[in-house]
């Protein structure tokens, strides 16, 4: 028996030795130098700026592709690839005078022909454009006036076009390279910016290499010529905990704060090696669009009661601390500041209860209100990214229960979530919409977008449609402002939504990294980054 035991140990050791060999030798992790590694929460569906429907693309692309105009954090629209622009008196035509020294990284010039080719590409029915298509609503065509002058015509005046031209959606790609590369434009679009996409490894990373020939000074930059950092690596790290670890250990130098719990964020704020950068996202806040066609949210008093019953500061304090501020209206305060709207629906459960009482909803069994024998129940459409209900919706559920509303959560994956929104099949989804212009409200509340993207309040009002169109056609800033103020006031009075949180674009950066900048969309621009010791 002793012999057998000894042999058993031998066998065991042999197996262990194989195991160690199987695991392999540990090599050192790749490290910085003049490489900036940024951890992103997800992979973009495509890098082609004109094809993407996703914000992820526009977080990466500002260093690679350029637009005609630029909108900085102050909201001012300034020339970029266009040296100057002019709007026709009827507001339907935009004439851009292009810089003569701009070239795509394949060596071809950024000329009028290229601008026309890009815009025509977006509206071509054989091409599936992403957010770019909405940015060219009513596009009638472009005309090449001369090599460096292009006129873009619309069927009707289209004031938001200037802001949309400054956003990443209408960034230009090289016509020559794009036509030659076929589907690879999704991985390695060729722009005119300070970086070139040199490597794309699916589900892992994208490498941007410095464009050494870049000789201009972009509007945000502190210098003329190429970017400071040689290489930028965008790593896709979906798990928030892992992403946090990488920036704490220095494996990455910057990470996206998306889906990082606010408690973790607060902890990171205390670390000396890290810095947290926040910029408000423009557009619509995190918002619950109330379906005005389906009971019980087809009843104005119920919708108003819901607005009084929702404790926004509590939602921010418990879930979005450091990630946003309480929202007041269907546009964030940064997009259209009207603080008066914050006072329309203060947190007032008593007032909410009173409204429901007046409306005939009396408290019934199990603390759920009833009217004509029917309980006050509603369904919130909750998108499930794989980790369950969105926490803010669970909080909403609790807050509504306190005034006798039985809110049920329909938690589902993205495809059926969209389907229900198109069919107005729930009492509305919780969502957000990024837009650099108040015209984002057109997508949310114009009747043409019921059953499509994104009028999921299913709100159809001829007066509202008229105002939204007027907003599009008015250039005078003061008049335009007055129109959108009026629109927001109607939307808030009609309580077609429950604005929840004005969210921030949040990035955690290691302290030795300087020069990070952000555009108006809240996306990072990394061409001025320097890496210290």
């Amino acid at each position: 028996m002793r012999v057998a035991r000894r042999a058993g140990w031998g066998a065991a050791l042999l197996f262990l030795a194989t195991a160690v060999a199987g695991v392999g030798i540990v090599t050192a992790a790749p490290s910085g130098g003049v490489t900036l590694t940024v951890g992103l929460d997800q992979e973009p569906p495509t890098l082609d700026p004109e094809a993407s429907p996703s914000a992820v693309t526009y977080q990466i692309i500002p260093d690679v592709t350029e637009s005609l105009l630029y909108q900085g954090l102050d909201g001012k629209i300034v020339p970029w690839l266009a040296a100057a622009y002019k709007v026709s008196p009827d507001g339907k035509s935009f004439t851009f005078t292009l810089r003569s020294d701009a070239k795509f990284t394949d060596g071809t010039p950024v000329d009028a022909e290229a601008v026309k080719w890009n815009f025509d590409r977006v509206v071509n029915p054989n091409y599936r454009a992403g957010s770019a298509l909405a940015a060219l609503s009513g596009y009638a065509g472009s005309t090449v006036v001369d090599d460096h002058t292009v006129r873009v015509d619309f069927k009707a005046p289209f004031a938001p076009f200037l802001s949309y031209t400054a956003a990443g959606t209408l960034a230009l790609v090289s016509p020559k390279a794009t036509q030659a590369q076929g589907n690879d434009v999704n991985l390695k679009p060729v722009g005119s910016g300070q970086y070139v996409v040199s490597e794309y490894v699916l589900k892992d990373h994208i490498i941007l290499t410095r464009n050494a020939d870049y000789n201009r000074r972009p509007p945000w930059s502190d210098h003329q010529g190429p970017a400071y950092v040689n290489t930028i690596v965008w790593k896709f790290i979906p798990e928030a905990g892992t992403r946090v670890t990488t920036v704490e250990s220095g494996e990455t130098q910057m990470i996206s704060g998306l889906s990082i719990p606010s408690a973790t964020l607060a902890h990171m704020a205390t670390e000396k090696t890290l810095r947290i950068e926040r910029y408000p996202y423009p557009g619509a806040p995190r918002i619950w669009l109330l379906n005005v066609k389906m009971a019980p949210t087809n009843d104005l008093k119920v919708r108003q009661a819901i607005n009084y019953a929702v404790n926004r500061p509590a939602i921010v304090d418990s879930i979005f601390k450091g990630l946003g501020t309480p929202a007041c209206a269907p546009l964030t305060l940064q997009t259209l500041a009207d603080k008066a709207l914050c006072n329309v629906y203060p947190y007032d459960p008593k007032k909410a209860a009173q409204l429901l009482d007046e409306d005939g909803w009396r408290m019934g069994p199990n603390d759920i209100r009833e009217k004509d024998g029917k309980p006050l129940t509603l369904t919130i459409n909750s998108i499930n990214y794989g980790s369950g209900n969105l926490p803010e919706i669970e909080l909403l559920q609790g807050q509504l229960l306190a005034i006798g509303i039985d809110a049920r959560i329909k938690s589902q994956a993205r495809p059926p979530w969209y389907e229900d929104n198109y069919h107005c099949a729930t009492n509305g989804p919780v969502m957000f919409l990024r837009s650099t212009d108040p015209d984002g409200l057109f997508a949310l509340f114009s009747s043409v977008n019921v059953g499509s993207n994104f009028n999921w309040s299913c709100y159809a009002s001829p007066d509202m449609d008229k105002l939204l169109q007027q907003g599009r056609e008015t250039y005078d800033p003061a008049k335009r402002r007055a129109i959108y103020d009026q629109i927001e006031k109607i939307l808030v009075d009609q309580a077609v939504s429950v604005p929840l949180v004005d969210e921030f674009s949040v990035w955690i950066v290691r302290s030795n990294i300087t020069g990070t900048k952000y555009n108006f969309s809240g996306y990072p621009v990394l061409t001025d980054v320097k890496i210290g010791k």
């Binding site: 058993g8 065991a12 195991a19 540990v26 896709f236 969209y418």
Partner: protein, 307 residues
């Protein structure tokens, strides 16, 4: 032997057939219009939706569509990704080596560690080593792999700074995912090896082998272990399926490229051709490994070969 192999190969045909039907039917089983869902984030005209429907041949009868799916599949064509229009097979093959590497490493780890612990526990039954090995095994079975993954990251990436937390590519990136994925499976293998070894060590032929004067090593390795391994190998086949499923979590936790991540993102992006392709490859991988397991029986146990 050839008869046995051909019988096993033939047996996989209906399984593969069933898999293709299940994968193909996915498109029909989900509620709503698949084309509208695929394009939901885009502003599309009815013409574009009609064109997409025609492109995917969704207007044809079910059987014609299924026939085309199988025929194209046999020719290595699983369609194109809705998102970026690249061939599904190309996207799968770009990430497949990473998943295969992880699954094989985890399987190797689980078998080596599991069998070793099992042997030690059986040879020293009721000793502190037995108790210790089985405690480790129970711990291994109880831990969810994604939790273990996060703990490993905290320890080896954040505290010790020995290993990179996220990404794929080199061996350093493989260590923690392999441990996170393989240790749970090792625990199951350890428990099974132990109980089978204990049974076999009590068999008459083991006593006979010892009585004939064979060395302890020969008795344990050739007579006891080989016989004890047959049920363990069955578990390998089943475990491989669990490991493939585990890669979905592990690849997400460790930000590793791979088939699991590709599938999850494809589901999120409503990219049906890509989802179908990923599920098909997962299923075929599982069928293939179980075929290997069947063949391994024949190698280890001549009774199966000739039976």
């Amino acid at each position: 032997m050839i008869r046995y192999i051909s019988a096993r190969l033939l047996a996989t045909v209906p399984v593969v057939f069933g898999v293709t039907i299940a994968v193909f039917s996915m498109l029909y089983l989900i509620p709503g219009d698949p084309v509208k869902m695929m394009l939901s984030e885009f502003q599309t005209s009815p013409e574009q939706i009609a064109r997409m429907r025609a492109q995917l041949h969704l207007n044809d009868p079910f059987l014609v569509q299924y026939g085309r799916f199988v025929w194209n599949g046999l020719h290595g064509n699983l369609g194109s990704s809705i998102r970026d229009n690249r061939p599904v097979t190309q996207e799968i093959f770009e990430v497949l080596p990473q998943t295969a590497q992880l699954a094989v490493a985890a399987l190797a780890l689980s078998s080596v560690v599991g069998v070793t612990l099992g042997i030690v526990a059986a040879l020293r039954q009721n000793s502190w080593m037995d108790v210790g090995a089985m405690m480790v095994a129970t711990f291994g079975i109880s831990m969810p792999n994604f939790w273990l993954g996060l703990i490993l990251i905290l320890l080896f990436s954040l505290r010790l700074e020995w290993l990179p937390a996220a990404g794929g590519g080199d061996l350093a990136h493989l260590v923690m995912p392999t441990l996170a994925l393989g240790l749970g499976a090792a625990a199951i293998v350890a428990r099974l090896t132990r109980s089978n070894m204990l049974d076999v060590l009590r068999m008459e032929y083991v006593n006979t082998a010892r009585a004939k004067g064979l060395g302890g090593g020969t008795v344990v390795m050739r007579h006891a272990l080989l016989n004890a391994l047959i049920p363990v190998i069955t578990i390998f086949g089943l475990q491989f399926g669990a490991l493939l499923a585990g890669t979905v979590f592990i690849e997400t936790v460790f930000g590793r490229p791979g088939l699991g991540r590709l599938a999850v993102d494809a589901i999120q992006n409503k990219d049906f051709p890509l989802v179908q392709g990923c599920v098909l490859v997962f299923a075929l991988g599982y069928v293939f490994v179980n075929l290997l397991v069947d063949l391994a029986y024949a190698v280890i146990d001549p009774r199966i070969r000739y039976g």
